[in-house]
């Protein structure tokens, strides 16, 4: 410091600047906003000491389960972070992908369709397992023609970011000849298996396919409503119940489905005793796939599993043309 001269922010020692910025940059977004102020701010806000705090603490564990080893050579922590936001990393023998959520730096995972317990998924007349170049995984599940759309999955939460609400999405697309999916008959339940400590959640009733005559957001024409009601009355499955799992806090097994075919007609809402709401419509993801919100759960410390069930109780008619890439778990934004 020159006597009589003025000291600037730029004259402060680097350790002070990093200390100041690390108190401000609580998220990657903060750091990126600061980097546009000036070249001085940019070099400070881009430093490894700022960015390494945004990478998950168990980063090494995740990288070690990666299939590829291309992630070791990065010139900076920021580069590594941004790479992991945009380039899903195949982990656990190709059963999952790992990415980071750009704004918060929290962990996201996608689980491949092959891991889901799809009822009749092993019957080639019902489900096919092709490989698509636009998929992250080597195989996707294609609904060829089945009167049954039903799967469940139990995921662990150990690897998820703590104290975070996660939203589960079904990542899918429809073929040009898809049919049987345009009714709001698919029911989805996402539930933390914590022995009833948290709220039981809701069953979401969704429609995977846009019907020909109207848009997602549009009002239902009166005509359609009537015909839908009439159509439903032909399939009196709704009141049927699943004997075993009705009162028990668990997912019915495939064996139970086979032993008690009446369960095919049950509704998730009845068998779990939770209310049913209309879920949101599918959205374009920007990567050529669609996604639909399946539900959400709060992960505190990663100690509980999460049950995810999807079923269509209107088993009487054929369905076709649904291609499932997998299920994605992403932190809920603006929490």
């Amino acid at each position: 410091m020159e006597q009589g001269g003025t000291t600037d922010l730029f004259d402060l020692p680097e350790c002070c600047i990093v200390d100041i910025l690390s108190r401000i940059c609580t998220s990657p977004r903060d750091a990126c906003r600061l980097s546009v102020v000036s070249s001085f701010f940019r070099s400070a806000a881009d430093s490894d000491s700022i960015w390494e705090r945004f990478l998950p603490f168990d980063m090494q564990l995740i990288l070690s389960s990666s299939v590829s080893h291309s992630l070791l050579n990065f010139s900076s922590k920021k580069e590594q972070f941004l790479h992991l936001c945009d380039n899903p990393l195949l982990i656990d023998n190709g059963t999952k992908t790992f990415t980071l959520e750009k704004c918060s730096g929290k962990k996201c995972f996608m689980i491949r369709a092959k891991e889901l317990c799809i009822v009749w998924g092993d019957r080639p007349m019902d489900w096919n397992w092709p490989s698509l170049p636009e998929s992250r995984f080597s195989e996707v599940a294609e609904l060829v023609d089945s009167c049954l759309l039903d799967f469940h999955y139990k995921t662990e939460t150990r690897l998820l970011s703590p104290n975070t609400t996660y939203v589960v999405y079904l990542v899918f697309k429809l073929t040009a000849l898809a049919y049987g999916l345009e009714n709001e008959s698919v029911q989805i339940l996402v539930k933390l298996a914590d022995g009833g400590r948290s709220e039981q959640g809701v069953v979401r009733r969704v429609r995977l396919q846009r019907s020909v005559e109207r848009k997602w957001e549009g009002e239902l024409p009166e005509e359609t409503k009537v015909s839908k009601r009439r159509w439903r009355s032909k399939f009196p499955f709704r009141g049927w119940r699943l004997p075993l799992s009705r009162q028990e806090d668990r997912v019915p097994t495939i064996l139970e489905y086979i032993r008690y075919p009446s369960s095919w007609g049950t509704t998730l809402s009845r068998s779990w005793g939770v209310p049913m709401v209309t879920g949101s419509n599918p959205k374009e993801r920007g990567d050529g796939w669609m996604e639909i919100e399946m539900g959400e759960f709060f992960n505190e410390r990663g100690e509980y599993g999460v049950d995810i069930i999807l079923m269509d109780p209107t088993t009487g008619h054929g369905k076709s043309g649904l291609i499932i890439q997998g299920m994605e778990l992403r932190p809920k934004v603006n929490q």
Binding site: M1, Q3, T6, T7, D8, L9, D11, L12, P13, C15, C16, D19, I20, L21, R23, I24, R29, C32, R33, L34, S35, V36, V37, S38, S39, F40, F41, K102, C103, V333, N334
Partner: protein, 184 residues
């Protein structure tokens, strides 16, 4: 020992007096004192005469009492105290009052302009006064926190020094993150 006086000489050759206990709040001064290299006056070529009294004021308040700023950081509660068998509630109350008073003092103490802030931060860094460094760094952070890049440039009198091409790229980055936010 507490009456021992130390003399500090600023960069512009002015001499200031400080108690040894107060001087020990600075790691740098403490090392000089303990090293036995005390030769009357300690020259501080990096600290000017308009900043040094401010530093001495801080040291006087905190000298020989290294725990106080830590207690503030812990919200005024000293965790070690709870496990002591002769835990005294009255003592705890007095402690809380003391911490509140210290907080108020620090608020008044930190009321100065940016120029003083930088100089004080430099001095705290040079003299290794952790509590003071912490206060100044936090004040600087609070001047940036939650502000847009334009507001920060204005606050700190910074001109964006990017080339037109870089500027273009910066606007893109800014937009990208704003979009991401708006999309949420």
């Amino acid at each position: 020992m507490s009456s021992t006086k130390i003399f500090l000489k600023s960069s512009d050759d002015k001499t200031f007096e400080i108690d040894e206990t107060a001087a020990r709040a600075s790691e740098t001064l403490k090392n000089i004192i303990d090293g036995g290299c005390l030769d009357g006056v300690i020259p501080l070529p990096n600290v000017s005469s308009n900043i040094l009294p401010k530093v001495i004021e801080y040291c006087k308040k905190h000298g020989g009492d290294n725990g106080s700023s830590k207690k503030i950081a812990n919200g005024g509660v000293d965790k070690d105290k709870e496990i002591l068998p002769d835990y005294d509630e009255e003592e705890d109350k007095r402690e809380k009052v003391r911490v509140d008073e210290l907080k108020k003092w620090e608020e008044e103490y930190m009321d100065f302009d940016q120029q003083v802030l930088y100089d004080l931060m430099l001095a705290a860094n040079y003299l290794h006064i952790k509590g003071l460094l912490d206060l100044t760094v936090e004040k600087a952070a609070s001047m940036i926190r939650g502000r847009t890049p334009d507001q920060i440039r204005e606050n700190f009198n910074i001109n964006s020094d990017f080339t037109p091409e870089e500027e273009e790229e910066m606007i893109l980055i800014e937009d990208e993150w704003d979009d991401e936010w708006a999309f949420d």
